[in-house]
Amino acid sequence: MCQSKNIYLPNLATIEAIVDETPDVRTLRLVFQDDQVRENFSFRAGQFAEYSAFGAGESTFCIASAPTRKGYIECCFRSVGRVTESLRRLEVGDSIGVRGPYGNSFPIEQFYGKSLVFIAGGIALPPLRTVIWNCLDLRDKFKDITIVYGARSEADLVYKRELAEWQERDDVRLVKCVDPGGNGPDFDGKVGFVPNVLEEAAPSSENAVALVCGPPIMIKFTLPVLERLGFADDQIYTTLENRMKCGVGKCGRCNVGNVYVCKDGPVFTAGEVKAMSQEF
């Protein structure tokens, strides 16, 4: 059967490891089964993929691991629907389908020589974790690195082991927080909402970029704080997490105005987001 490429055909990957981040958030480490695919697969931080649980369908997540870590990719998802529940039923050694990488990425080379401020909320740490590790693997190329990460409760914080690792490092400033009431007696972070905690941490905007990822309500209240800290629109990056299906600009699902988030995004500057019809 000699024919042109089927863009909907996934590559098969094996689940090499499973980590439960929270009671309903899970990370899968995936290794492509085909030797050539494994060797040739490359991506940039911020890109996403379509992951399939055969029998249920496909779901869209960012590639959560860093492009500087070769040989595998990781995805991180919350079980909320049919496909994610099916992905959750898979075990180590099982096959899943992966299509991608798709979309644009964070322009990391443009960040060289600058300070980085990462701001994430809840399950939105994975899209920034890929950039954080990418940049930590190239640590000499950046100045200060600040990470502000918050969740509703201690239990909802994802990548706890990596938060501990970042906390230990003297070349990273981690400010971890949970919403009021979400803290246990031994919680060693801040108690408060991400925008407030960010304002208090007050990272410098001088020669810096801010990368923001979180629920719409968090982003809405974080952008004014960044403005007060002196960040201009072109110093602020975010990802739009629109519902996607095909991932390649055909199915008509993810558009915000004439922007196809799957093709033109998912990474945008705050200036680009403000110019869009407000429908996300």
Binding site: N6, L9, G55, S95, N242, R243, V248, C254
Partner: protein, 336 residues
């Protein structure tokens, strides 16, 4: 010298193509409605009625397999669909509003990534369009820039003549090849002055002006006014020759099954619903606004084409009587 084909020879052409094992699709009476259906003989062809559904499903089926999967000896295997067996197809008897749509949809399906399911069918298809002699109250092709005799999208274009025969014009190489392969059925006419045009259609809209208004009126009371009655049934999208939104789902078990691409509609309430429960288009007026914006602004921004051929099917099918032509006229008449 212009070419003609008699009505009898047009039907003979269909018989011949069927004998050649080509799939011939055209308007055919099916139960109580006329639909684009495979024709088994020239006598099946009905040219007096616009098919209830558009011809897009010939290139973009309502539902189709895009892969199959099976677990064998504990190992998952994914198999591509053999598209080399897609048949050579002749679409015959499509009026300009239907013949134009594949040419419009080519842009989205070949943008950056090629959807070979659509494109392979396009490569293997020949479209014989026919000038339209009679619209109805819902038709508005002339309002969106087409005409009763628009050849765009057709490979071979027929013009009904007063004596019952058809003037023929090969618009593309595919159309010329079809005529050359069956030259005996086509004759030469001294002229085709007797072309049968009975209506000019509705008044032309200023699409640039409409687009300009849409750009500045993302928030406008108009959208809420329409949403008061839209029920989000999706009929307008499913019956439209240009709507192309789709979903992808699996059918089968975790052990064996197929992945399928199938039509979807931006009018459905869950179309943009996020896993978190957040829905950017959470009410019907936002969804209907997207439908109009996509057709008359976004698609034009991206691909330089209007995503509407004015066939009027959405007007006829809407259960609550929303008339897209009326909405466009309203916008066209606005001063700011």
């Amino acid at each position: 010298m212009p070419q003609i084909i008699t009505e009898e020879n047009l039907r003979n052409l269909i018989d011949l193509l069927v004998k050649e094992s080509k799939v011939v699709v055209g308007p055919k009476e099916t139960g109580s409605v006329v639909l684009y259906q495979p024709l088994t003989a020239g006598s099946d062809l009905r040219l007096d009625s616009l098919p209830r559904r558009s011809a897009k499903e010939l290139f973009f089926p309502i539902c189709e397999n895009i892969l199959t999967y099976q677990r064998q000896d504990g190992k998952m295997q994914v198999t591509d669909v053999d598209r080399s067996h897609f048949p050579e197809t002749v679409l015959i008897g499509a009026p300009p509003c239907d013949a134009a749509s594949p040419a419009i949809l080519d842009a989205v399906f070949s943008w950056d990534y090629n959807d070979e399911f659509y494109l392979e069918r396009r490569r293997k298809s020949t479209i014989v369009g026919i000038a339209c002699t009679k619209g109805d109250d819902a038709c508005f092709c002339t309002a969106v820039g087409l005409a009763r005799d628009t050849e765009a999208g057709s490979d071979l274009f027929l013009t009904p003549l007063k004596d019952g025969s058809y003037g023929c014009k090969a618009v593309t190489e595919k159309g010329k090849a079809l005529v050359d392969a069956h030259a005996a059925l086509f004759g030469e006419a001294a002229s085709v002055d007797a072309a049968l045009f009975v209506e000019q259609g509705t008044e032309k809209l200023d699409l640039a002006k409409i687009k300009n208004w849409l750009e500045g009126h993302f928030e406008d009371p108009l959208w809420e006014k329409i949403a008061d009655i839209c029920v989000g049934c999706g009929s307008c999208a499913f019956i439209c020759p240009a709507c192309h939104c789709f979903d992808i789902n699996d059918e089968g078990s975790t052990e064996q099954g197929s992945r399928r691409k199938h039509w979807d509609a931006c009018g459905f309430s869950k179309f943009t619903n996020h896993a978190s429960g957040h829905n950017p288009r959470d009410v019907q007026n936002k969804r209907y606004r997207n439908r109009i914006m996509h057709k008359f602004k976004y698609y034009d921004d991206k691909f330089g084409k209007t995503l509407c051929t004015g066939c009027g099917r959405c007007v006829r099918a809407c259960p609550v009587g929303i008339d897209i032509a009326e909405i466009l006229s309203t916008i066209n008449a606005k001063q700011d």
